[in-house]
Symmetry: C2
Subunit: 562 residues, 2 copies
Amino acid sequence: MAKFSIGIDFGTESARAVLVRVDNGEEVASAVHRYADGVIDERLPGTDIELEPDWALQNPADYLEAIKTAIPAVLREAGISPDDVIGIGIDFTSCTMLPTDKNGVPLCMKKEFKNNPHAWVKLWKHHAAQPEADRINQIARERGEKWLERYGGKISSEWFFPKCLQILNEAPEIYQAADKLIEAADWVVWQLTGEEKRSSCTAGYKAIWDPDEGFPSEEYFRAVHPEMENIVDEKMTRNIYFLGQKAGGLTAYMASVTGLKEGTPVAVANVDAHVSVPAMSVTEPGKMVMIMGTSICHMMVDKKFQPIPGACGIVKEGILPGYFGYEAGQSAVGDIYAWMVKNTVPPEYWEETRKRNMDIYQVLEEKAFGIKPGESGLLALDWWNGNRSVLVDADLTGVLLGYTLETKPEEIYRAIIEATAFGTYKIINSFEEKQIKVNELYACGGLPEKSRLVMQIFADVTGRKIKLSARPHTPAFGSAMFGAVAAGRANGGYNNIFEAVEHMAYLKEDYYSPDPESHKIYQQIFSEYDRLHDYFGRGENDVMKRLKKIKLKVKGEGVEKC
Amino acid sequence: MAKFSIGIDFGTESARAVLVRVDNGEEVASAVHRYADGVIDERLPGTDIELEPDWALQNPADYLEAIKTAIPAVLREAGISPDDVIGIGIDFTSCTMLPTDKNGVPLCMKKEFKNNPHAWVKLWKHHAAQPEADRINQIARERGEKWLERYGGKISSEWFFPKCLQILNEAPEIYQAADKLIEAADWVVWQLTGEEKRSSCTAGYKAIWDPDEGFPSEEYFRAVHPEMENIVDEKMTRNIYFLGQKAGGLTAYMASVTGLKEGTPVAVANVDAHVSVPAMSVTEPGKMVMIMGTSICHMMVDKKFQPIPGACGIVKEGILPGYFGYEAGQSAVGDIYAWMVKNTVPPEYWEETRKRNMDIYQVLEEKAFGIKPGESGLLALDWWNGNRSVLVDADLTGVLLGYTLETKPEEIYRAIIEATAFGTYKIINSFEEKQIKVNELYACGGLPEKSRLVMQIFADVTGRKIKLSARPHTPAFGSAMFGAVAAGRANGGYNNIFEAVEHMAYLKEDYYSPDPESHKIYQQIFSEYDRLHDYFGRGENDVMKRLKKIKLKVKGEGVEKC
């Protein structure tokens, strides 16, 4: 009798569950549950309480609802017995975190706190903790904290401690009342199993934890804020569990609401980008996994630790057992394409979409395919949302150079795609300069599904083969693999993720190959990109920062006048 | 009884005649005649003979037709007696030139030559003589020709001798058959009066002539091409007439077809941009006249000769008697706005134009007016059509810097307008660095009529008042003034252009004043423009040229494959 595991990917707007055959990885069923409250960025649900700019919250009740809806849905669709589900794994956006009481009840679910925005889940893209991140970085630099090198010298405002410090600064009563400050990923595992078993992935990538070094010191935290000195022991835990370990068994309550068996093994939680690495069958160095969508995450594993400019997290045991997991990224990719489509494509192109019953990306793509590398004379710097890779500088802005009176929208579209590919190539080069070879690329996410043009340009620019996920839901599938590992071989699963990959993971047969002629021309154009990258990005000409200062000043003065 | 003069402005697509009262400058009537053949850039009229790229021809018959149509039309509209028309002046695009026989019959009107494109009028924007211009410049530099300094060190492919040399190179039989190679402006005066009286303006600005130095030497021309040695004496004339002189009286034939009196004085021909200076009432140094449309011409007069980077022509007696006339320019201004509107404005903006019954420029302008200087964080280099001002480099291309995911079309529109204003400011500065003061600006042409936003930004960027033409047809009006001067005071006109200006020229009462706060911010942004201008324009980073080389190579290879 075949055995199955379930993976659930908790995304930004919805959660997706897949039910997978453990012996061969076949996806038997899948279900999506859209969060009722989605991204909360205007006002608290059911109230008039408005949020400040840059806030982004979620309702933890939505996660529980997703579990109660999506698991029964995949069971129904698959038509299998709950007895044959041997394990569950989950992955999450991160850092998405919340304050709870000692029993794990979210403070936002308590009457006395529900009107305080700080009681709610802070979603990964909550960007209001920048001052806190600045302080955390400043103190770390002043003290020469060694762990900075694991994070490219800088902690992001999206991460765990800046969000904690924002609560402490702005809502000390919530901070006091919170027995726990916890990643939503780990909280959901707690809900499923009744056990607070935090993950090495969320701890390592978002909470400055290392298997050997642990968390930053009390002295450090005290320097950041006196009341934060014992944050780890007071509101977190030093017991961190590795990926692939079993967190616990499904509780009786969760069994009753999902239709699964009580005690079904649940894996330690993962992060969406990180779980995609084994899901793409990557279990060794030399292979870079790109999760390509509105932005790109670049994931690698290697046996050695090697600080790399722009690697925003290098975490031992962070992706696969026995390896350092490397994470780098580009802060906007599909977002820039979408910006262009929304803001700069003229009506005749949209009319063509109607006439030919295509979408606008298809129309642009078809036209842009007709343009050869180098033919437009255009070159862009892909910094529409700053640069979070090699330069780690949010104040940088986008550039387009080479305009003539003959420049066409499809040429601009192609130039923007090329720029994002140059951005990835720059990251690859920065790995290779540190002797971490990148031989092949592996792509999953929305873009590889949507755009042949994007993928071919990435192959041509980087001069590398790009293999593709065969899974429409790569992270959820990866979580299902970890579910099978949590079960263990004795229960019909696997003893480790490598075994699971061997039996369950596979790729598309098709892949993208670089065209040597195109790559040669792109090498020339990339050297121009590289030069402008350094000119604008490394202080030779800080025009972007000065323009931003003028912009802020002008806008500020505007506010004063009001 | 009031006296009148007629001015005719021969433009690119049409000619416009105005009939003006000589005592007070009142415009009494005007008429437009659209050329039947317009700009000939695909095939010769009535044939299948295709033109090469970059060619642009005209049919001289269209000029004669314009005279025969537009003069009777203004006489009719004004309802005055031909006896009261005391003079005629004309101005023309330039260099627009043609080959004729010794009687002035255009070779394209002769059966044996009419199928040869080189027999036709080469319009100012005929750009196919670039190799010839390159040779003319190279030989001049090698020989250290002193006259180069009058032309910013470079002769344009649009000018007279490159066009002549192209005829000689590509159609020697036409060159041989041409008794005359002549500016269309001078040819029309010849047709009107029966006298070949060439103008100091066309000769000085387009044919390397100087009142003291004459034309370049035979040695120089021989070095360019042996058969060109005696081009001046064989196919031109050394008798050049100054602006304001009378070329002759209207012939009997022309009197019969126009309804004017035989012998009516006709002025020496002018060029459209140059005749706009007195038409804007500018008769002294310190006042820069800008003819603002698809491109901008910047015109100044001064008592001294002073080579200025980017002044593409400095001609003694070229604009006003007793002065050196300075010409500088930007190769694309309104053209860039039009490019943006055509290629990068999304449908919702066009829908707004329909709903509100506005044109797209009005919609963009309204939105862009709501943006403060510096508020968008955008900065552009206005080189969509190269840079023909300070840098004189056609291989430069446009840049837009400062894009974010929040950048809006109206911000781009404003940034492009600002860039063109920075381009003008750069020209103003290059005059002032050479002690030629620019105290005030005077604007005519299409843009001042169409866009308050453009004019305000130009005032704010340059920190200068901008006065405006009160004339809808500034060049034609200027020509009418010269018609009155050709008549002379004895015949009810004026003895010189200064007198004519005093009585006939006036400006709008409204003008644009710079806002000091905006100017202050623009000073900061201009210093960023300036730095990028030099970085990309003066060899620090020749990325634009290298991209252009790649582009040409890629396109060239494409052709080989076909």
